[in-house]
């Protein structure tokens, strides 16, 4: 067990294990130790300001330079999917002309991910504390918190939490809540920034980073909800102790959502320490390595189950196998199911969730989905695979956002990890998993692209 002096403060956070139907914290510190998900269980609903302050203390009185020092010393990386160091966004925005815009992205458009809404719903003050600190680092006095519309949206918990903070006269920025459409690409940072400025919630073609110039013409920092909640934690425990709660080359604790063949799909786990994917799945009740694991989101990377089981869930370890923690999603494929079937449904879903504005998504992704469906059915032959690979090469790098490239990444990892299945499917042999019901559930209400391509003429 590692002793972390920064966490041993008597008046610091309590480190307790929490397990409820909604979220569970497991620790890599010997005894279960969790940070963000410690405290009241999910049954108690949102943690109130009084309880939050009692457990974590008041928000430390850092000025802008102090917060930037925290970000520099901790190497806090973005938790929305891109993993971009937050300090680089902040410093770029500060060097760029204009008063910066700060948007906290809690839209969590990855359909199976639950971590950001879990934080907003149960620990809203951690998100708001972190947003408040980030606002100081940028010298801005107003912050937009962006969520998706819908029944699952956490905006109610956030607005209640904000009301209590205003009544308590905390040294906070002015808060504005924004709700956008619940679509896959609508959570992309340029889509969020454009929507907040009054435009449509679709990705923008940009020749320079948002932190240099966003849709408003001002430098725009879009930061994920978990990222700023981590900043709130770090401001209490210190960057060194916070950093040590991750792996040596991958800083800090991490929130994870499980999907697929697990005991509790949608369960959110908090990983502190150098835990492996096997540790996370064991915490859920999975007893043996599955057939394969999809890491990072729907448009993520497949890893063979035996390898994944031993792989630490951090940026460095996953990066060595061309995967990334992404938004923290782990999808589990059981031995009885077919990875090609699962991927075909995911690719079809992702093709339908394009914004419909770039040729590569409109013309390319549906064809890739068709070919994947044929491969899954066993009606594709070798020539079809070559055509499909050429199509993927054409798609790569030609969209305004990362959506088409991410689908191509999923496609390549599918062909690699399920190579033996591909061979069987191409030979037309029946696949053991062909009749297995879907494991990784994609939303079924695909309503078509945001923009109707028939308006193109």
């Amino acid at each position: 067990m590692t002793v972390l002096p920064g966490l041993a403060l008597a008046d610091g956070p309590q480190l307790v294990a929490t397990r409820t139907s909604d979220f569970v914290g497991i620790g890599g510190l010997g005894d279960a130790a969790t940070l963000m998900l410690s405290g009241p269980t999910a049954e108690s609903g949102a943690e109130e300001l009084a309880g939050h302050t009692m457990r974590w203390g008041h928000l430390p009185d850092f000025d802008g330079a102090g917060v930037r020092a925290l970000l520099r010393d901790s190497h806090l990386d973005g938790r929305g999917g891109g993993g971009f160091p937050l300090i680089r966004k902040v410093e770029t925005a500060r060097l760029s002309p204009g008063r910066p815009v700060l948007i906290i992205n809690a839209s969590e458009s990855e359909p199976a991910s639950r971590k950001d809404r879990t934080l907003c719903r149960y620990r809203p003050h951690l998100v708001l504390d972190g947003a408040s600190l980030l606002a100081r680092s940028l010298g801005v006095v107003d912050v937009v918190i962006h969520t998706h519309r819908g029944a699952a949206a956490p905006s109610g918990a956030l607005s209640t939490a904000i009301a209590y903070r205003v009544a308590a006269r905390l040294t906070d920025p002015t808060w504005r809540l924004s709700e956008g459409p619940d679509r896959y690409v609508s959570g992309e940072s340029s889509a969020v920034a454009g929507f907040v400025e009054g435009g449509e919630a679709r990705p923008r073609f940009t020749t320079q980073p948002l932190a240099v110039q966003g849709p408003s013409g001002r430098p725009t920092v879009v930061s994920n909800a978990e990222t700023v909640a981590q900043l709130a934690v770090m401001s209490r425990v210190g960057p060194v102790a916070w950093n040590a709660l991750g792996a040596s080359s991958s800083p800090g604790p991490r929130l994870v959502t499980l999907m697929g063949a697990v005991a509790h799909p949608g369960e959110v786990l908090e990983l502190t320490g150098p835990g492996t994917i096997g540790d996370l799945l064991t915490a859920d009740g999975v007893v043996a390595p599955p057939a394969a694991v999809l890491v990072g989101g729907f448009a993520g990377t497949w890893i063979p189950g035996g390898v994944a089981w031993q792989t630490p869930f951090n940026r460095a370890a996953l990066g060595s196998m061309e995967a990334s923690p992404g938004c923290g999603l782990i999808g589990v494929l059981p031995h009885a199911a077919c990875g090609l079937n699962e991927t075909a449904r995911i690719v079809r879903y992702l093709a339908g969730e394009s914004a419909g504005q770039c040729g590569t998504c409109v013309a390319g992704l549906p064809r890739l989905a068709d070919s994947m469906a044929m491969l899954a059915r066993g009606s594709l032959r070798g020539r079809g695979v070559r055509k499909m690979t050429a199509l993927a090469d054409t798609i790569l790098g030609s969209g305004a956002c990362g959506h088409p490239d991410a689908v191509v990444g999923l496609f390549h990892s599918t062909l690699e990890v399920f190579h033996d299945d591909v061979v069987r499917h191409l030979a037309g042999s029946p696949c053991r998993g062909s009749d297995h019901p879907p494991v990784l559930h994609v939303p079924d209400a695909v309503v078509g692209p945001l923009i109707d391509a028939s308006s193109w003429i």
């Binding site: 770029t92 060097l95 760029s96 990705p203 923008r204 073609f205 020749t207 320079q208 240099v212 504005q357 770039c358 040729g359 590569t360 013309a363 390319g364 054409t394 790098g397 030609s398 969209g399 305004a400 193109w456």
Partner: protein
């Protein structure tokens, strides 16, 4: 004077007119959507073609901007600011 040439894929509708005027700098995919071969153009001859192609694109998808970080530019780059 060097310039940066981009095709905004959200505006490109595959008319492929850019490839007529700026065949050295644009390649077309199987559907006719253009992609810039090299984003930085610094010869006067190529730059003239790029500007003509930009003017001809019915959707304004081909974008030519003077490169502020280039040899003749005056604006600061992010790295040097």
């Amino acid at each position: 004077m060097s310039a940066i040439v981009n095709i905004d894929p959200t505006l490109c509708r595959g008319h492929a007119i850019c490839a007529l005027f700026f065949s050295d700098g644009v390649e077309l995919d199987q559907w006719g959507f253009g992609r810039v071969v090299d984003g930085t153009v610094d010869s006067a001859r190529l730059l003239k073609r790029a500007r003509r192609a930009a003017a001809a694109c019915p959707n304004g998808a081909l974008i030519v901007v003077d490169d502020p970080t280039g040899p003749d530019g005056t604006g600061p780059s992010i790295d040097s600011a």
